[in-house]
C-alpha cells in the first residue's frame, strides 16, 4: 500500500512559463483545472493531456502531467489510441472551436459516438486566435473578421447540439467567468465513464473580446444564463420568475411561472435516455431574447469502447488461451519437406 499524499495546485503546474495573452480566458480555465485535479485525487503520472493546435492547445505544456501537443484537429484521434490501450490512465483532450469543430470535426464526432473514455474540453471563443483573427465554425453569421470583411456567410455549429447528435453520453457547457461552475462540470465529466464533452465559453480578449459578455457578464447572468440542475425545475431570471415548459407543438417554450404554475415547468433530467429534451435545451439562446443554458445537458450510461474491446479480448482468451505462434503458423494446412 502506498500512502496517498495530498497534492496541491502547485504539483500540477509545470515549469513552463504560461504564454497566453494577458487577460485571456484560458488562464482561468487552467487555474480551475490545476485546482480541481487535487480535489479529484488525480495522480500526475496517471494523467495525460492531449491537444491539437491553437491557443487552447498549448494547455498540456502548462500541466505537470504527461502530455502530447499533437497536430491540428487530431487530438481526439491520438487520444483514442491511448485511451483504448491504456484504460488505467485519465485522458483529457483540450482544444478550441476551430481545432475541434473545423479541421478536427470528424475525429470529435467519432470519438463521442464510440464513447471512448476521455474528457474532451472544448474552449469556445468563436474565433481563430493563434492565426490572428479569422472567423471560426462557431462565429455568428455576419461576423466581420480579417477573412470575412463583409461578414461571415457561414452558419455556425451549435456544439452542444452537435455532440448530442453525435451520440455523446455526456454533454455539458460552462464558462470561464465562473470557476465553481467550471469545476462542478469538469468533476462530473471526469466521473463519467466514456466520452465526456464539455464546451467552455472562453473570452479571447484580443480578437473577439466580449463575445459572451451579453450572457456571462455579471449584470446579464441573471436574465440570460439558465443554470441546469439535475432533478430541479428549469428556471431562470430574477427570482426564478421564468421557466421552461413543454410546448404543445412538440418543443419547449419559455413561461412565466406565476402565470402558468410551477407544475408546468419541466424538471431537468440529464439521465434521460431519450435525447429530445437535452437537444431542445441546446437550441435555447440561439436568439438573443432567450437565455443560454449552462450545466449538464446529458449524462447517460453506455458501455465505453475500451471496456467493450477488453471484454471481447477476455472472451477470446478464455476460449482460446494465450496466442501461441507455432499454432498460428499452422492454422492453415502445412506440409513437410524432408532432407
Amino acid at each position: 500500500m502506498t500512502t496517498i499524499e495530498k497534492l496541491t495546485r502547485k504539483d500540477f503546474m509545470s515549469d513552463q512559463e504560461v504564454r497566453w495573452c494577458p487577460g485571456c480566458g484560458d488562464y482561468s480555465i487552467l487555474a480551475a483545472v490545476q485546482l480541481l485535479l487535487p480535489e479529484l485525487n488525480a495522480e500526475k503520472h496517471n494523467t495525460v493531456f492531449i491537444s491539437g493546435i491553437g491557443c487552447a492547445a498549448r494547455f498540456p505544456y502548462y500541466m505537470n502531467t504527461y502530455g502530447v501537443h499533437s497536430i491540428h484537429g487530431r487530438a481526439p484521434a491520438v487520444a483514442s489510441g491511448l485511451a483504448i490501450t491504456r484504460p488505467d490512465l485519465d485522458v483529457w483532450v483540450i482544444g478550441g472551436d476551430g481545432d475541434m469543430l473545423s479541421i478536427g470535426g470528424n475525429h470529435l464526432i467519432h470519438a463521442l459516438r464510440r464513447n471512448i473514455n476521455m474528457v474532451v474540453v472544448m474552449f469556445n471563443n468563436q474565433i481563430y486566435g493563434l492565426t490572428k483573427g479569422q472567423y471560426s465554425p462557431t462565429s455568428e453569421v455576419g461576423k466581420v473578421t480579417k477573412s470575412s470583411p463583409f461578414g461571415s456567410a457561414d452558419q455556425p455549429f451549435n456544439p452542444i447540439s452537435l455532440a448530442i447528435g453525435a451520440e455523446a453520453t455526456f454533454v455539458a457547457r460552462t464558462h470561464d467567468m465562473d470557476r465553481a461552475h467550471m469545476q462542478f462540470v469538469l468533476k462530473k465529466a471526469h466521473e463519467h465513464k466514456g466520452a465526456s464533452f464539455v464546451e467552455i465559453y472562453q473570452n479571447c480578449n484580443v480578437f473577439n473580446d466580449g463575445a459572451f459578455e451579453s450572457i456571462t457578464g455579471k449584470e446579464n447572468r441573471q436574465d440570460k444564463l439558465l443554470i441546469l440542475q439535475d432533478g430541479e425545475p428549469i428556471l431562470f431570471g430574477k427570482d426564478n420568475a421564468y421557466g421552461i415548459a413543454p410546448d404543445p407543438s412538440g418543443g419547449i417554450r419559455i413561461v412565466e411561472v406565476a402565470k402558468e404554475g410551477m407544475e408546468h415547468v419541466l424538471v431537468h433530467d440529464a439521465k434521460k435516455k431519450d435525447p429530445s429534451l437535452a437537444f431542445a435545451l441546446s437550441r435555447l439562446g440561439i436568439s438573443n431574447e432567450e437565455p443560454r443554458p449552462i450545466g449538464i445537458f446529458r449524462d447517460i450510461e453506455r458501455e465505453d469502447y475500451g471496456t467493450s474491446l477488453l471484454t471481447q479480448q477476455q472472451n477470446v482468451l478464455q476460449k482460446q488461451g494465450k496466442g501461441a505462434l507455432d499454432k498460428l503458423f499452422r492454422s492453415q494446412s502445412t506440409w513437410v519437406v524432408e532432407e
Binding site: S14, Q16, K44, H45, N46, V48, F49, I50, I53, P60, Y61, M63, N64, T65, Y66, G67, V68, H69, S70, I71, R74, A77, V78, A79, S80, G81, L82, A83, I84, T85, R86, D88, L89, N106, H107, H110, L309, Q312, Q313, V316, L317, Q320, G321, K322, G323, L325, D326, L328, F329, R330, Q332, S333, T334, W335, V336, V337, E338, E339
Partner: protein, 624 residues
C-alpha cells in the same frame, strides 16, 4: 469406362494455369484452392490474382473479368509465370481478355454453355470463337460446364440460379483431375468454408466431383498431367499470401518484444486483408481499431505508441498522402510507429487493384520540413514476414516511424512459407525509462525526454503511468535534451541534423547488401520489392544461356546498406528494373553519382522475365 481411368500421366516440370471468369464466378477461390492443393503436394507455387476494381462490374463484359494465375513447379520458382500454358475461361469475355497471353499450343478450357449470342456480343465477338476456327492454334476444349453443374446438382432441390454458382467448383474438379491434384483438401475446404449452408456444401461437392469424373470419363482429354514435388529446403511449410505473412510478422515481432500491438486502420484495397487478419488475433494482445479515416488510423496508432504499444497503421494509395502529416509528427515525437504501404497504381485512385512500386519517393521525401523515415521493403509474399519483423525492430530500437513497403502483387500473391522455429525469430529488446536521467545545476534530478542514447541516438521512452517521469512532447521544435519548446535557431539546426544522423546510423545495424555473382560479371541487376522473383528467374535463365550477370536486391531503402557504394563501384553497368518511372534509380544517382540504366514498367502488372532478360542481354552484349 471405369473411374480408375488409366490414361497416361505426363510429367511436367512446371505448369502455369490461369482461371478467368466474370468477377462473380468465383475465380479467386478456384485459383486459391488449386494452389493450396499443389502446395500440399510439395510443389513450389507462386500466384498472381488479378481482379477488377469494381466489386461487380457489369456481368459478361471485359471490364468485369477476374483472373487468377498460378505457377506450380517441381523446382524453385520465383514468379507466377510470364504466360499461362493453360487458360480456363468461364465466358467469352474471359476468353477475349486473356487469350492473347496464351502461347500457341496452349490449352484452353471453355465453358461452352456461356458462349451464347448475347454473351458473345457483350464480349465483342462477331462469331463464336469455339466454332469459327480462330482458336485452332490452341488445344481447345469446350465443356458445357453450366449444364453439367446443373445436372449434377439436380437431386438436392437447389434453385438453378443457386446451383449454377457451383460451376467454378466443376471447373476446379476438372483441372484437379487433369493435373493430378489431391481432391480431399478441396472437399474439406468446401465443408468448412460453407458450413453455414448445407445446400451450398452439397452443391459445391457435387459439382467438384462431377468435374473430376468428367475429366476421368469423357473422351475429350487425351491425357492428364502431373507436376512432381519440388525440392524446397527441408522444413515445414504452409502456403501464404503476402498480407498474411506480413500480419504474422507483426504478431511475431510483438511477441518477441513482449509488447501489445495496436493497429489503427481504415479499409482500403489492397491493404484491408491485414486489418482482417489482425482483427482475428486478440489472443496475441493485438487491438485493431477501424478508424473513421486514414488520419485517425495513424493518429490513434501514434497515441497507442505514446502509451507503450507497438503502433501500426496500414494503407495503400491515397491513404499514404493522408497520413503524411502524422508521420511528420511521429518523426518529431520520436516514437516507434510502423506505417505499412501496400502500393498500388496511382496517382489519385489510380489502379486500386493493380500493382506498382510508385510510392518510394513519397515515403522517402513526402513530408514538409526535413523528416527522415527509415524504409524497409518486402521482396516476396513469404518475405513480408521478415520485412515486418524488421520494421518493428527498427521502430522500437530507434524510436522512429518506419515505412514498410509491400505492393498489390505481393499482398495477394502466395508462395510456400517455411515456418520458423521460435529461436529463429529476431531478438527485439525494449527498455522503458524508469527513472530521472539528468541532474540539474541546482541538484534536482529530472527526466529529460530528449536526452539520447549515445549509440542509437534514440530518446528514452517513458510511459504515462511512470511516477516522476511526467513530461510533455509535441510537434513544436524541442530543445535538445530537455524537450522543452525551443525556437532557438542553432538548436533547430542541431535537431534537424540529429534526427537525420539517427536514421543514417541505423545502417550500422543492418546487414551488408549481398551480391549474387558467381562469375565476376560486369553487369549488375539491382532491384527492390516485388520485382525480386522475376529478376532471380531472369538471371538464372541467362546464366544457363552462358551470360554472366550479377544480382542484388535491396530490402533497406533508407538508410541504404553501408556497402552499397562499394557494390556499385564494382560494376560497369547497373540495371535497375522498377514498376515506376525510375525512383530507386533517382535515389542511387543522387546519392552515389552512379549512372544506372533504368528498366521501367508502369502497366499495373509485374515484369515478365523476358523483359528483364532482353534488357540484360543488351547490356551484357555491349560490355563484352
Amino acid at each position: 469406362m471405369t473411374l480408375e481411368a488409366d490414361k497416361a500421366k505426363i510429367n511436367l516440370d512446371s505448369l502455369v494455369i490461369r482461371f478467368a471468369g466474370d468477377s462473380g464466378d468465383g475465380m479467386q477461390v478456384t485459383g486459391d484452392r488449386f494452389t493450396a492443393g499443389s502446395a500440399i503436394l510439395g510443389n513450389d507455387v507462386a500466384t498472381f490474382p488479378n481482379y477488377p476494381a469494381e466489386i461487380r462490374a457489369p456481368a459478361g463484359t471485359i471490364a468485369g473479368v477476374s483472373a487468377f494465375q498460378v505457377q506450380i513447379a517441381d523446382h524453385d520458382i520465383y514468379t507466377p509465370g510470364d504466360f499461362p500454358t493453360v487458360l480456363v475461361a468461364m465466358n467469352p469475355a474471359a476468353l477475349k481478355a486473356n487469350i492473347a497471353d496464351l502461347p500457341p499450343g496452349g490449352v484452353v478450357i471453355c465453358n461452352s454453355d456461356a458462349f451464347d449470342q448475347r454473351s458473345l456480343e457483350k464480349a465483342g465477338y462477331a462469331a463464336n470463337p469455339l466454332e469459327d476456327g480462330s482458336l485452332d492454334i490452341y488445344k481447345l476444349y469446350g465443356v458445357p460446364i453450366t449444364s453439367l453443374t446443373l445436372e449434377a446438382c439436380k437431386g438436392i432441390g437447389a434453385k438453378p440460379r443457386d446451383a449454377e454458382r457451383s460451376k467454378n467448383f466443376f471447373a476446379l474438379g476438372l483441372v484437379s483431375w487433369l493435373y493430378d491434384r489431391p481432391y480431399q483438401p478441396t472437399l474439406d475446404f468446401i465443408r468448412m468454408r460453407y458450413a453455414k449452408n448445407s445446400q451450398v456444401v452439397e452443391a459445391n461437392t457435387l459439382a467438384f466431383n462431377a468435374g473430376r469424373y468428367f475429366g476421368e470419363t469423357a473422351e475429350v482429354f487425351e491425357s492428364s498431367y502431373t507436376v512432381p514435388a519440388s525440392k524446397l529446403p527441408p522444413g515445414e511449410y504452409t502456403n501464404i499470401t503476402g498480407n498474411t505473412a506480413l500480419s504474422w510478422g507483426l504478431i511475431a515481432a510483438a511477441r518477441q518484444a513482449s509488447l501489445p500491438m495496436f493497429l489503427g486502420s481504415y479499409p482500403i484495397t489492397p491493404a484491408s486483408d491485414i486489418l482482417h487478419e489482425l482483427s482475428k488475433h486478440k489472443a496475441f494482445d493485438v487491438t485493431t481499431f477501424q478508424a473513421e479515416d486514414e488520419i485517425a488510423a495513424v493518429c490513434s496508432a501514434l497515441g497507442a505508441a505514446f502509451g507503450g504499444a507497438i503502433g501500426v497503421t496500414t494503407t495503400s494509395g491515397p491513404g499514404i498522402d493522408l497520413k503524411s502529416e502524422t508521420v511528420g509528427l511521429a518523426v518529431s515525437l520520436e516514437l516507434p510507429l510502423v506505417i505499412i504501404d501496400i502500393q498500388r497504381g496511382g496517382p489519385s485512385t489510380g489502379l486500386p487493384t493493380k500493382t506498382e512500386q510508385s510510392d518510394l519517393l513519397h515515403v522517402m521525401f513526402g513530408r514538409h520540413g526535413e523528416a527522415p523515415v527509415p524504409i524497409v521493403a518486402a521482396a516476396t509474399p513469404a518475405h513480408c514476414f521478415e520485412a515486418a519483423t524488421e520494421a518493428v525492430r527498427i521502430a522500437l530500437t530507434y524510436r522512429t516511424p518506419v515505412y514498410l513497403l509491400s505492393d498489390g502483387y505481393l499482398a495477394n500473391g502466395a508462395e510456400p512459407f517455411r515456418i520458423p522455429a521460435e529461436a529463429e525469430l529476431p531478438e527485439i529488446k525494449v527498455e522503458f525509462a524508469t527513472k530521472a536521467n539528468k541532474v540539474l545545476p541546482d541538484g534536482r534530478e529530472v527526466f529529460w525526454p530528449y536526452l539520447r542514447d549515445e549509440k542509437t541516438l534514440a530518446r528514452p521512452w517513458a510511459l504515462p503511468g511512470t511516477k516522476g517521469l511526467e513530461h510533455r512532447i509535441g510537434g513544436i521544435e524541442k530543445a535538445d535534451g530537455s524537450g522543452n519548446i525551443s525556437y532557438d535557431p542553432l538548436n533547430h539546426e542541431l535537431m534537424v541534423q540529429v534526427r537525420q544522423a539517427k536514421v543514417e546510423g541505423i545502417s550500422k545495424d543492418l546487414p551488408d547488401l549481398e551480391v549474387d555473382d558467381p562469375d565476376q560479371a560486369n553487369v549488375l541487376v539491382m532491384g527492390w520489392g516485388s520485382t525480386y522473383g522475376t529478376i532471380v528467374a531472369s538471371v538464372n535463365n541467362l546464366r544457363q544461356s552462358g551470360y554472366s550477370i550479377a544480382r542484388a536486391h535491396l530490402m533497406y531503402l533508407n538508410p541504404f546498406p553501408r556497402n552499397l557504394a562499394d557494390v556499385l563501384s564494382k560494376y560497369d553497368k547497373v540495371l535497375i528494373p522498377e514498376m515506376n518511372s525510375g525512383q530507386l534509380a533517382f535515389l542511387i544517382r543522387s546519392k552515389f553519382l552512379k549512372n544506372v540504366t533504368q528498366l521501367n514498367k508502369i502497366q499495373g502488372v509485374p515484369f515478365k522475365t523476358s523483359e528483364i532478360e532482353a534488357a540484360l542481354i543488351t547490356m551484357a552484349t555491349e560490355s563484352k
